[in-house]
Symmetry: C3
Subunit: 659 residues, 3 copies
């Protein structure tokens, strides 16, 4: 089977989305000159080219793309060819309104932007298949072609009648019978019993809270419909070029797509990463996405999009200060990326993204941004040989599951202050700041390889997943779980006792009397291990079992003396979210006790250390120089300089050390 | 005529909504065991059972309900039987889209939640009547049946074409002629003159501010249409069981329903009360609803719904700390309730309300919540004999009127900071904190029985209501009024001079030059009685008449020296809303001068004292023990303990003293 | 050609909108008595009279208006007659739904408010023309008629199918060909290439950011469609009464209307001014509108609407403290107004505006508001002879352009914190607080008369406008420009280098590496001229040319040492927005160096001095008395008092001095 190495051939891919139909052809020649000077070896063509390729229904306009493919090949630049199906031409919505999605308020999403396609429209799917067929036929044998890129950032919901038709079919497949659906959705409550599948619709605008399992199934359905769209196109290109890898780019932690499931269908897992350059935790949030993508890829992965400077979709869009683009790019390499790419090569002068940075931005060749792009290209070339194909390992896995997230985010839950991604980020941050390299896993995965498994929050768990967790601990693993875990089954049916009985037993919870969610800004004072600390977001009124230990207890208030951190053997349960320092100390201690060690001991704050293969990456996220103790002799791959026992990193500095 | 005593038969009703169609029948037996152990003597069945009772149009499925009714009867538990018409089955919206309401933006409210019925739909009304007829015929003679409960929390607006058809008929009845409508609505302004009733519509989405009297009439129409729905079902069950009382449960201070008018059509006035357990004023807000419901009932009333723990519809839903459920339940009894019920008996495991507490919650029988439910059941049994049927009296009445509220809450008013319910609550709080038991009255009611009448704000008043107020003062009553009273007539036509001339004369206002609304957080410094204080929300530029006294004046600023508190004889006028302490002191003084005394003298803060019949309830809303002076010998009904001169209340403690 | 002097005939017009169809006819007589007592000499009739004039399609009801016109004439009060086309009668929307506008979410804007007309509806235009024809025919020769007022506050957008039809025609006219449209809109990006004009629509609800040039053109189209509506009616009345002036009233800085273009089509430029009486900068914001309107009128202009007291459309609507109405009215006269009018004469008792003040408000004749109205009427009579027709001059022009504003306010821009009107206001404020009288100009205007030209922000500039600016500086002018100027061309195509190359050269910018927008509340510390100060909203990473001077530099941070204020000769560039004091000092210095002097030297804070013709207006915006040095002998026109060297102004006092 083809994979990322098929495309890299030992070189880190460097380049990005290239939308040359925006420019006259003489600009293309200038682009090629600049690409070669910058070490660019890969471009993605065709992402938004549908109206250019098919200006009228069924017409084909390939000449410009022929010339581009040839031009790239002639200059040694590989092409990742995209199907253009994320943005249909205006004629499609105009002639076939059934191709347009409808939002939950009944508003049609018209053309004029992008992603205005209904995943459930047979017409859309037919046109998408046809253009994909023709692209595969025409370019499958082109020597510039290195990879297929299907669609772009799948991200559309659809509440239309068409979606409702498909939703009914999807439900019939899932449940087999109306009785099963009525049981799973709990329709005996609120008089929602369905007497005919025809009565079921997407969860449209309603007077009051919607049925949560209907909403959950609609989220599952959405991910599955988008996946059907992806698979249809993937299968077409795979038939034409079985030797070439196929990908589609994820948006990190995008709510609508079960990326664990999707990744199984990709040859290359790729992702877009856009932390806010102003965010003090930007580097950690990048690391989280990198760790998750690496875990989905089970090896090297592709950074499909990042920005060389500011994006244009935040309220205030900050540029990247000098050195930050290089730092975050090399961080991705340290954490397993074999491709470092951007949206987009040349910044648009028109349209909705003209203030989104490019590798060549408005300031042009002499601008600071492009000068840094050139420097990075040269460095990636130096690293390529010793990096590509190697692995970044982790002893700790964080469990994450879209299905559980979907089940938990509903109207009518106990606290809207609990934001699942924020909780996930808080736990990853604690480990990242403890200099512990972590990966992610699905609750059904084989966990035996990990010394520590962490569950920030898995509201809904299947029986099988609970079996898996219990077996993991039974076999000697250390498990640390946050609150709101194991509350519901896969139908969002609350487990008797308010939390699965076996999990309660595992953690030493006799009775879970009440959840005590905390208000925004409210804290629960705690004492015990790790010292005194403050809990946030949540607390609980728990009776523990006798064989469990209260590692930290609430102090004062209604819950005084009750367990905030509960431990029974190697199973830890946190009924609150400790503030960052406390969570870091707690997890560092648990990890240490389980035999996990950081990539390098004694690291200063703001310096990240990651081992990839035989190399040690040190990254200085601070703006001040810092000296790091690195025992023994070593050599920095980037500069070739040898050193002993210590290395100094300048502002945003990076070294890649080999022994 | 049947009333609440018909159902109580001398026992305080204890129980709640029971939705057993969610559970297998063996759970029903377990439920009965727990109900009996907890002293439950009443359950409400059928509230959300429509799709179970009528799974397909016209079908009937009564067997399960037959068994339940029999089961309840066999165990001595009375049944309040609900018509299931608040939540139509999915087939109804699917087959008859005209049964669905439409919001003011034109969005249809679909099934999948609840209350998705158009009050104006003839189809809906036909199906509702049919199922009500069949329920009445089948269960009217059942020995378990104690009361009828029509629909549930009527609360739907409808801007649809169907509603527009009914609105036109309603308007023709109200006005008789187009000329009268045009005059009442002031359509000569903004070119809104109607030439045909067919041109009139519900106040749908418009470019700019809507006609306020059209909006006002639409609110009246909405209350009346919902009332028509209620009356149609009430009349059906009343024909079947003229000996049994009928109710429908109000949501407290719900905007859309003129509960004064509705209460006249009920045999039992019932209400749902859900203060936030975290709200420091939760007890006062409960008291307000209790006082209002008692006033509407003119005697004992039914607490139809409360939560044993957290609800699930706030942003953050807090549980009830130990003792609070009992405290607030006994507070309701003190203030006239002869029924203490909950939503719902057993907490749902599925659906939108699975995180709303139950009397048996997820923690089950051994959980703290259910243990407290059991304790309360036992105590209510002890109180029943001496409590049921007795009255809680009040010398003070607060005037409240939905019609006036509807008229006042419009776009284009002077200050959106003035929130009518908040003003109402502020005045009730002042009296509650002064330990003065108050009731509510409508401005048309006979007020002669009251020593003090308080008008927090009645923006619109009819001539008859003004007559009533003037007569009350003339006959020796003490009247205290806040600003924005008597501004408009019943068509929302501003009275000449900006405030009714007779009211101005009553209070001693010569000229009301300008209203000076205050910004959020802004204060108007005042001096005089009660000492220096700060006004909030509002101030006024007034010339007083010579025979009026400036009891407190604005200090400095544009209004320096002008009256903040104006008095002419026994008529008081407040042109600002004093901060809580000042309003409490002022009202306490006025009440004292009018001969009103608290239920007990010398009460500490946070202790509430209410007399019901011959009993004195003392309720400690604080978390600390407190000793209360109660002169003479007394006995606590709950414990049977006798005492003299003082009694000590623990955290959230309650005693019910008889001499 | 007729102009404002045709109507004033040497008297300052004083009066306002009069909507007598709200009142019985005996109130009309009372109104006339009060008007004459108050010096009212002009009323506007008919603004909202359509349903009265045409109660059913095609019917005419003119009798009431005949009587009113005669009554006004008999009492020496001139009539500005309005076409009633801003608020169609209910029958129109009911019978002709195509006359109703549709918003971008697809919601129809119904009757029941006002301005519910589709500018693109042929039906609406036909009815509007017919009623205008008939009004012109009936009253064109009436001796009371002094001016025509077309519609009222044009302000409607329309995304309907009808609007789309007209938009396509408008685009065909603008671009000639689809290729030109595709090029201007940059449709090669995001697959938006149009293959047929039929595919183009208004920018309706979409999944993601809309095409910015489509949005820009839709804004141009909206202004043009409204202008077509205006012109059609104007031409009708002009044919009937070529000797009488025509106007329509602008809302200040209303986004949807290119008032530069519109003003060219008016005989009289009129405007509505409603600063918040509580706004500490209310007087400055009034001055801004007055300066802009005077510049559009190129001479005397008409204050069509202001409020004698509170308005009713803010969250909290404050009255005008004693003296403020007079002060702000005389400020308008000082800045060129020859008409001081109000909405409305008598405050409504019904409808949406019943809490908007009137010249006779709810308090009536004896109320403070009306007493001040009478005083002002007397004073305007005194001023009339020496004021009407005279000019207020300015040496400084601020450039403003709706087209540039429209281009710059788009989704996907770098900072949503940058609000164009706020930037414009900040620059005007700096000059106003420096006591420098300024006007406004369009970037295409002849600028040679100005000593200083100021560009707060002109995001999009045509080549011709850039030529104009360059020529202005070349010819000796001083130009001061803020950031985000010259970024794009008229199609919103970013200029190479991120800013027009010639402008970069003008200001001495070699490379504009990056924009560094600032977060809300963030500051950029700067040092240099004017001393140390803080920049707000924006900063930039710029390499300057050698011949440019860094007048102030960023201090510390990523941009330390780079130019915050850059100067090359007489061309100044500010890459940040200095805080108010710093911007005032900088502009005062630049103006002084360019030979500009305030109307009077040595003015205290809060006192405004403006010269109109030979008169010097001094206005005290403070609440404390203040003495102003005015060298030499002078006489106050208002009081007739003579003085020497100084004059004292009481709270909100005004003197109008002649030598």
């Amino acid at each position: 089977m083809p994979d990322l190495s098929t495309a890299t051939k030992g070189r880190i891919l460097y380049g990005g989305d290239y939308n040359p139909e925006q420019w006259p052809e003489d600009t293309w020649l200038e682009d090629v000159r600049l690409m070669k000077a910058a070490g660019v070896n890969s471009v993605t063509l065709g992402v938004f080219s549908w109206s250019t390729l098919e200006p009228r229904p069924g017409e084909r306009n390939f000449g410009w793309l022929d010339r581009l493919m040839d031009l790239m090949h002639a200059n040694g630049i590989g092409v990742v060819l995209a199907t253009p199906t994320s943005s249909p031409p205006p004629w499609m919505g105009h002639l076939y309104p059934d191709t347009l999605p409808v939002d939950q308020d009944g508003r049609t999403e018209h053309w004029g932007g992008r992603q205005h396609f209904s995943h459930s429209s047979a017409t859309y799917r037919r046109f998408a298949a046809a253009i994909t067929e023709d692209l595969a036929a025409r370019y499958g044998g082109h020597p510039a072609l290195t990879m297929w890129h299907i669609n772009n950032e799948y991200c559309t919901f659809d509440w239309s009648e068409r979606a409702a038709d498909r939703f009914r079919i999807w439900l019939q497949r899932r449940y087999g019978s109306l009785d099963a659906l009525n049981s799973a959705w709990g329709t005996a409550f609120w008089s929602q019993g369905y007497g005919d599948f025809a009565e079921v619709h997407t969860p449209r605008h309603a007077h009051y809270m919607k049925n949560p399992t209907q909403v959950l199934d609609f989220r599952r359905f959405t991910s599955d419909m988008l996946l059907e769209c992806y698979l249809a196109e993937r299968d077409i290109v795979r038939r034409a070029t079985p030797h070439l890898p196929v990908t589609t780019n994820f948006m990190p932690l995008w709510f609508g797509q079960d990326a664990w499931r999707w990744a199984e269908e990709e040859d290359v897992v790729s992702v877009d990463i856009y932390p806010d350059p102003r965010d003090p935790l930007g580097a950690q949030q990048g690391a989280l996405v990198q760790d998750m993508t690496r875990s989905q890829a089970r090896g090297p992965w592709m950074l499909m999009e990042q920005a060389a400077g500011p994006v244009n979709w935040r309220g205030v869009n900050h540029p990247k200060p000098r050195g930050l683009n290089r730092l975050w790019s090399l961080q991705a390499v340290a954490r397993g990326a074999d491709a470092v790419c951007y949206f987009q090569w040349r910044q648009s002068r028109q349209g909705a993204e003209k203030f989104h940075a490019g590798m060549v931005d408005h300031a042009g060749e002499e601008g600071r941004v492009h000068q840094e792009i050139k420097q990075l290209g040269a460095e990636l070339r130096v690293l390529s040989e010793k990096v590509t194909g190697s692995h970044t390992d982790n002893d700790i896995a964080i469990l994450h599951d879209w299905q559980s997230w979907w089940a938990g985010v509903q109207d009518g839950r106990l606290s809207s202050e609990v934001d699942y991604p924020d909780v996930l980020k808080a736990w990853h941050r604690a480990l990242w700041e403890a200099h512990l390299t972590t990966g992610f896993a699905h609750p059904d995965h084989d966990l035996t390889a990990y010394k520590v498994v962490v569950v920030p929050q898995l509201y809904a768990l299947t029986d099988a997943a609970i079996d898996n967790l219990l077996a993991y601990v039974r076999q000697g693993g250390t498990l640390v779980s946050g609150f709101l875990t194991g509350i519901a089954d896969e139908d969002d049916r609350v487990r008797p006792g308010g939390m699965d009985a076996r999990l309660r037993e595992l953690f030493g919870i006799r009775t879970l009397h009440e959840w005590w969610p905390l208000d925004a800004g409210e804290h629960a004072e705690c004492e015990g291990s790790p010292g005194g600390f403050r809990g946030t977001l949540w607390s609980e009124e728990i009776d523990k079992t006798e064989d469990a230990t209260t590692e930290a207890a609430y102090k004062g208030g209604e819950l005084g003396g009750l367990p905030a951190v509960l431990r029974r053997g190697r199973a830890w349960y946190l009924s609150t979210l400790p503030e960052p320092d406390a969570l870091r100390e707690l997890l560092a201690r648990v990890a240490h006790d389980a035999g996990v060690r950081p990539a390098l001991a004694g690291l200063p704050d703001r310096v990240e250390a990651v081992r990839r293969g035989d190399l040690l990456f040190l990254l200085n996220h601070g703006r001040e120089s810092v000296t790091v103790e690195v025992p023994g002799a070593h050599r920095d791959l980037l500069t070739g300089e040898a050193g002993t026992d210590r290395v100094t990193l300048g502002r945003h500095g990076v070294v890649v050390l080999e022994r």
